[in-house]
Amino acid sequence: MKESCLAALAGNPNTGKSTLFNALTGLKQHTGNWPGKTVEMKKGSFQHHGWTCEVVDLPGTYSLTPASPEEEAARDFLRSGNSDAVVVVADATCLERGLHLALQVMQLTPKTILCLNLMDEAKRQRLRLDVDELEGELGIPVVPTTATKGEGLEELKDAIIRVAQGQLQPRPVPVGSDADEPAAALYRRAEEIAARVARGSPVPRPSLTSRLDKLVISPGFGIPFMLALLAGVLWLTLVGAGYPSELLAAAFSRGERHLSLLLNTAGFPRWLHDPLVLGMYRGLAWVVAVMLPPMAIFFPLFTLLEDFGLLPRIAFNLDRSFQRAGAHGKQSLTMAMGFGCNAAGVVAARIIDSPRERLVAVLTNNFVPCNGRFPLLMVMGGVVAAAAPALAGGWVPSLVVMGAMVVSVLATLLVSRLLTATILRGEPSFFILELPPYRLPRVGTVLVRSFLDRTLAVLWRAVVVAAPAGLLTWVLANVSVQGVTLLSHFSAWLNPLGRAMGLDGMILLAFTLGLPANEIVIPILLMGYLSADSLLAVEDLAAMRAVLTANGWTWLTALNFIIFALFHWPCGTTLLTIRRETGSCKWTLLAALLPTALGICLCIVLTIIVKLWPM
């Protein structure tokens, strides 16, 4: 008797399949790609009655027609016969669509189990299903579950093990097929079964979802509602991050004294101590103190809204604009991912099947600011707010960030329109978007997962880059040629362009050195201005503003800085990702040139207008 088995989870999107997968396997998961495909594969395992069962989470699909990479991956896996049991996860409240997939899976493998998930929602809709009757009609085991509450999981594990062992042998009832249109025949059979197993008459009543949707996706209120929500999230992020940032900065500065003492006691010479402590450690401290608190607030909030079901609604509201720009509807989703991380947004463009429209999404993703650029915008928002203390203080930075985000979305649409009218012309492909019911997010799980998957991942990447960047900056600021530091040489060389843009050479140099990660731009800039031998200590925003003013900053400089922070070349990681996803240096170059050209033009035009303005 073998003690281990392999099970696969198949199912329509939005049936709670991922929740079920998480509930079955806990945190013992790893992700990878399907061999030879750009489709993500998740694997995990569980123990049950002495058995170890590996679980593969197949991509969520509506059918097994091999028309998309996801479906091909799912179909190939099921056909290979490698799995000892296949669980089809169906939404109990729309049984027909789940049965349609189950009937297809049953044609490929008899070892099929139907999992009726979301039973709590079915109950709420007073929908009762006769499970025994359903088992009889299908000839396979049926297990009702509510994955969010962990209900039915033990029974499901039992069923998996018993099917894998051969104790339970499903005998799928065959479906008469219609050679022309198999989907029609399968749906007719699915309807028949669904009608036969439904018990009692569900009482239709206006659900919370349709009442909320009347606001969220209404032509009049949809967009204002989204903007208000965005403002709220940013406000919470900025206000909530302030105090923890101060605490972290204070802790890092205590840490610096200890580190310094330690190195001195160990007899480290000055030329080694200074770059390590004043370059590397301070660069690292800045990035963690400034980035961690807002990310630890923003990412979980974003994940909560995502889990609640808001993302498809945002795509619905924005779709009119994306249609006009000639872009694919799913581009609004990849754009939303870009706000988290542009590299992730570029990878997410895989969900767009048409290569032309995918390219538009890839080339324009960098026009929205990622989380790494938020600190730049937030700090500049703080600079603007400090310049006008009369304004309601707490709101100004969040309004600045929000304004920047709105401008970035407009730029995305405009550049998409430009691309689809010139080099990427073509007929738009179709777009089908499911709007699943709103579901209360499981707050605990979301907090843990968003912290592990997003916050720590992004932070780790920033830290890996910040330490060497801090070191490099220290070296540039301390190595002199002909009595002038390298940093000053480079910045003098960039100065004419910087001046024309209403910025200066040091700002452009900071953005250039910030190529690996934008988070490091401000510390580099301050260090350059101070021409001191180290990065500025992190805690003092007022001192920072004084430094900027002393270097000739006005509100125009701050504004141009924000524009250039939005529109310049993508970070190193994103560039490498674009190269990998498009397989072309030419497109990668264009992805860098487009935003840079826009940024430079906008800054120059704005500067000229302001200078010519009769005041």
């Binding site: 028309a67 669509r97 989907a183 996706i217 619905f316 179709f430 777009f431």
Partner: protein, 78 residues
């Protein structure tokens, strides 16, 4: 008449699909086979996209896609 001709709240039944190839396959996969009831639930700015209630869930389609779906009118309610 096509699905795009229905106004908010109206119900129809699918008669046939004009679409071919991948789009036809996708629509069939969602359950848009002849005889299926469908209802317009929400209409976005400018009439596209619109959200339709179909076999227990809500799907948004752009106007060009809705025009590929032939329906007959059944009545209205919200």
């Amino acid at each position: 008449m096509t699905l795009a001709d229905l106004t908010r709240g109206q119900r129809g039944r699918v008669k046939d699909l004009r679409a071919h190839g991948l789009l036809r396959q996708r629509l069939l996969d969602l359950g848009l086979v002849p005889g299926t009831p469908i209802q317009v639930k929400f209409v976005g700015r400018g009439g596209s996209p619109a959200a339709y209630y179909l076999r227990g869930s809500l799907f948004a389609l752009r106007r060009e896609t809705a025009e590929q779906i032939l329906v007959e009118l059944e009545g209205a309610s919200l």
